[in-house]
């Protein structure tokens, strides 16, 4: 870096970091304050097998009770308050776009150490973990910070462009393609944390989506852009959400899942997208286990690294996706056959949103608590000169909680509760959404959900690499 661009970079950052910090801090602080984590070493000596069996039994019994009683929670939604919309989404989106550009610049010009570069930190801990986590509680936050909506609207206005090129007819398939590429980049490619590599990938993706959305219209983002689709789905589980109508904005509240019950049926591509989300999370957990490392011939105590297992993990990812699709398809078909035809697979699939959201939260909790600290440190003092732009005292990034045997069971308990809660909710939703079918028709999906409970908890409690 030359003296000139270093100076520019520093000045640029002083403004940029403060803007970014406000949002990121709000998202990260509550989680970091929990400060506990889950090293497998301690979890391995807990009787996790008993916990997993108890969870599986609980999910199964819930289904049995639901089938016997026939009475399910109504999950009504309530309006908490109603106001005028303060900030138009196009404006906040445009601001998010500017921040995105700042991050890309940081990725190219900032520190090479990924844990000191806000491109890597903000994307992987903020956008990829904190935003969906917060969205699963407070509703779709992505709609405010989607970096395409505003620029696409402006571009279409300037170009005088109306109508589209027919992309919407493709349903969610483009998003599935982009999501698959992203998963491969995240889990299998050699350097997803490298700031410059990540910045380049993000910029290329942004440009591609921007071009397509300008051609087709900003509404296409809801179907074709995978982050928008994924975070939109995750936010449907939230007990709090905002509904807008014209200039009015209503803050709504209801049981988790209340929104899901009011969603329209899914088309095939949306169902496949949800299956992909489940498969991606499953494979990400699986690929770290000693079981998988042994299967692909790696020594889990000293794995060679990503470069040695690109093909094995690519095949594993695709196989997991195929197995997930096959299991869901078989469960739905069997359910339909047992129901005599009234089974609504296109609605029942919505219940798996709860599982995907719950597993996303449980799976990434530790990463949020570790990498999240680097994010805070970098926002607080981007140049490591002792600055305190967020007002935080200087602090060392600290992973002591990873070996604290007193708090570890608490964290595992949190993950356990999230996974179990998500599956119980999924069972309830599937009973509500399947339509008026006889109890036996629920059996295949209930078996699938019990299996997924066991798998999810096992992935979090078995020996893992790293």
């Amino acid at each position: 870096m030359t003296a000139g661009n270093a100076k520019f970079f520093k000045e640029f950052w002083q403004g940029f970091s403060k803007i970014l910090a406000c949002g990121a801090l709000a998202v990260l602080l509550p989680s970091v304050a929990l400060a506990c984590a889950l090293p497998p070493s301690v979890i391995l000596i807990l009787p996790t097998g008993h916990y997993i069996a108890a969870a599986a039994l609980t999910v199964a019994l819930t289904a049995v009770l639901a089938a016997l009683s026939g009475r399910m929670p109504q999950m009504q939604a309530h309006t908490l308050w109603e106001t005028r919309r303060i900030l138009p989404e196009a404006l906040t989106s445009y601001l998010a776009f500017l921040i995105f550009l700042g991050l890309v610049l940081t990725g190219f010009l900032g520190p090479r150490d990924p844990m000191h570069n806000l491109m890597t930190l903000v994307f992987w801990t903020g956008v990829w973990i904190a935003v969906p986590l917060a969205s699963a509680v407070f509703g779709n936050l992505w709609r405010w910070i989607n970096p395409w909506t505003g620029p696409v609207r402006v571009a279409r206005l300037l170009l005088g462009r109306r109508g589209g090129i027919g992309l919407s007819r493709l349903g969610h398939w483009p998003a599935i393609g982009f999501y698959l590429c992203f998963i491969w980049f995240q889990m299998i490619s050699l350097s997803p944390d490298d700031p410059a590599v990540l910045a380049q990938a993000a910029l290329v993706y942004w440009l591609a989506i921007f071009a397509l959305a300008v051609a087709e219209g900003e509404d296409w983002l809801q179907k074709g852009e995978f982050l928008t689709v994924l975070f939109g789905f995750v936010s449907r589980i939230a007990p709090f959400w905002v509904e807008t109508e014209g200039a009015r904005s209503r803050q709504r509240a209801g049981w988790p899942g209340a929104q899901v019950l009011r969603m329209p049926p899914l088309d095939l591509s949306a169902m496949v997208f949800i299956a992909l989300a489940l498969a991606a999370l499953t494979f990400e957990g699986l690929s770290e286990t000693f079981f998988w490392q042994g299967l692909i011939g790696q020594n889990p105590l000293e794995p060679v690294g990503r470069s040695a297992v690109v093909w094995q993990n690519s095949a594993g990812l695709l196989a997991t996706f195929a197995l997930t699709l096959a299991a869901l398809w078989a469960g739905m078909r069997l359910g339909a056959r047992l129901s005599g035809g009234a089974f609504r697979a296109d609605r029942v699939m919505l219940s798996f949103l709860a599982i995907a959201s719950g597993y996303h939260a449980a799976h990434y909790l530790v990463m949020l608590l570790t990498a999240g600290q680097y994010t805070l440190a970098a926002l607080n003092d981007p140049f490591f000169t002792g600055d305190s732009w967020l007002g935080l005292p200087p602090f060392y990034v600290s992973f002591g909680f990873l070996t604290d045997a007193r708090v570890m069971p608490l964290l595992y308990g949190t993950q356990f509760a999230v996974i179990l809660g998500a599956h119980l909710l999924a069972v309830v939703l599937s009973f509500r959404l399947a339509g008026p079918v006889r109890a036996l028709a629920h059996l295949p999906l209930t078996v699938l959900m019990v299996g997924y409970t066991v798998l999810g908890l096992w992935l979090l409690s078995t020996a893992r690499v790293g």
Binding site: R112, P300, R306, F383, Y396, T403, A463
Partner: protein, 425 residues
């Protein structure tokens, strides 16, 4: 004991630890407006299996650079450390070497820890003719398997570490040894070097129990331990270590048991007072550098801990639970000071002088204890490109490791045919 939480550490203590110039080491040299900085590329295991070590290697190196810069730098030039993540991957490692040697314009590269990454990246350093100083403790350098540009001046290699344990184990704990080790290169080094070394002391390894690396329960292996075993030598690593200790405790119960001897690699970055480790009370461990500050520690040890931000128990000053990789990370500190010594001795001015710099490194012999070497004195063997230092044996007392013995440098020396000085550049 006073503890501080993540967000309320004492500002003074943290700042003390970080040092006023802590990260100015990472800033571009023009900040000082003086001679161009000496750029040292650090191949960091920031992500991947080595990340737990990487975090502390970075912290130690940053502290060392700050200390050197505060004292005037190296040959009057400030030191700039450029950290580049290799994801603990040999292919990435080679790419990182290319990047640091090329676009980043580094004068030399240091810091690699994991052996397989060293083996993957070192050949590229040789091709690019850039000094590559590893902090790995592997025998790969001294074995002669690498090239003229690769040196390990900051930490004793594992062959010497293991061999120096044998005299004390044989004379103090017993001569009939059963070894339990993970069944891959790391465990095999222990198996081979210790078996030879204990035989030289009149002892004998009466059983070698190799545990598959994917194993997470060990109870079924314990009956293989011969009843006449006097010393159980264990070097299990990975997430199942706690399970290993727990199950070993259950196997022996409160009855008679052999003396236990292990390597701290099993519990590096883990609080030895953790619940579940009680069975290790009274057992002994090798430590490269004692995590609990010895009672007779000198000023250098105190200053080193303060600079890195580590307390007297080897934990972070901001979190008593955050135990450092203390037995290994001094290698970064000492490697940086070795670089300083060699750069100043060689009159190194830029990349054109790299060969001269390596020759100056090879000429180094004695590395006395002091602020530059808080772990203790070392001797550098220019032919092997390897440093040899004192080793420590500590006893677990009340959940704390207390040093009971220190080996001499001479005990760790060995002969082999390696002579890098006879190799061409």
């Amino acid at each position: 004991m006073t503890t501080t939480s993540l967000f309320t550490p004492s500002r003074r203590r943290v700042l003390q630890g970080m040092g006023a110039g802590l990260a100015t080491a990472a800033l571009p040299g023009h900040v000082w407006g003086q001679a161009a900085p000496l750029k040292i590329g650090f191949q960091l295991h920031r992500t991947g299996i080595g990340a737990a070590y990487g975090r502390w290697y970075e912290r130690t190196t940053t502290a060392a650079a700050a200390a050197i810069n505060a004292a005037g730098g190296i040959a009057g030039r400030q030191v700039e450390i450029l950290y580049e993540d290799d994801a603990t991957d040999p292919k990435r490692g080679a790419e990182v070497v290319e990047k640091l040697a090329g676009p980043s314009g580094c004068d030399l590269i240091m810091g690699t820890l994991f052996s397989h990454v060293v083996m993957g990246a070192a050949p590229r350093a040789g091709e690019l003719k850039i000094p590559y100083l590893v902090c790995s403790e592997g025998y790969h350098v001294a074995s002669g398997a690498l090239n003229r540009w690769v040196l390990q001046p900051g930490i004793t290699d594992v062959r010497a570490q293991i061999s120096t344990m044998a005299p004390w184990v044989a004379s103090t704990l017993g001569k009939k040894v059963t070894m339990v080790f993970p069944d891959y290169a790391f465990g095999h080094d222990h198996r081979d070097f210790f078996t030879t070394a204990i035989a030289a002391q009149g002892g004998e390894v009466i059983a070698q129990i190799a545990i598959p690396p994917t194993e997470t329960s060990f109870t079924r292996y314990f009956p293989q331990i011969p009843a006449e075993t006097e010393v159980l030598y264990h070097v299990m690593v990975g997430p199942a270590v706690l399970t290993f200790v727990k199950e070993l405790g259950e196997f022996y119960g409160t009855g008679a048991k052999p003396a236990l001897f292990g390597f701290i690699d099993s519990l590096e970055a883990v609080d030895t007072a953790s619940p579940g480790l009680e069975f290790l009370e009274g057992s002994h461990f090798w430590e490269g550098h004692c995590r609990a500050k010895p009672a007779d520690a000198g000023e250098a040890e105190t200053a080193y801990r303060a600079a890195v931000g580590v307390d007297d128990n080897g934990a972070s000053v901001s979190d008593a639970k955050d135990v450092s990789t203390y037995a290994h990370m001094f290698s970064c500190w000492e490697t940086l000071y070795f670089i300083k010594q060699a750069v100043e001795a060689s009159g190194y001015a830029g990349p054109a002088d790299r060969q001269k710099l390596v020759e100056a490194m090879e000429a180094v012999t004695d590395l006395p204890e002091g602020a530059e070497r808080p772990q203790g004195p070392m001797r550098f063997d220019g032919k092997k490109h390897q440093a040899f230092g004192v080793q420590n044996i500590s006893k677990m007392e009340g959940g704390k490791l207390v040093r009971v013995h220190q080996t001499t440098i001479e005990e760790g020396l060995y002969d082999n045919d390696t002579d890098y000085t006879a190799m061409s550049f």
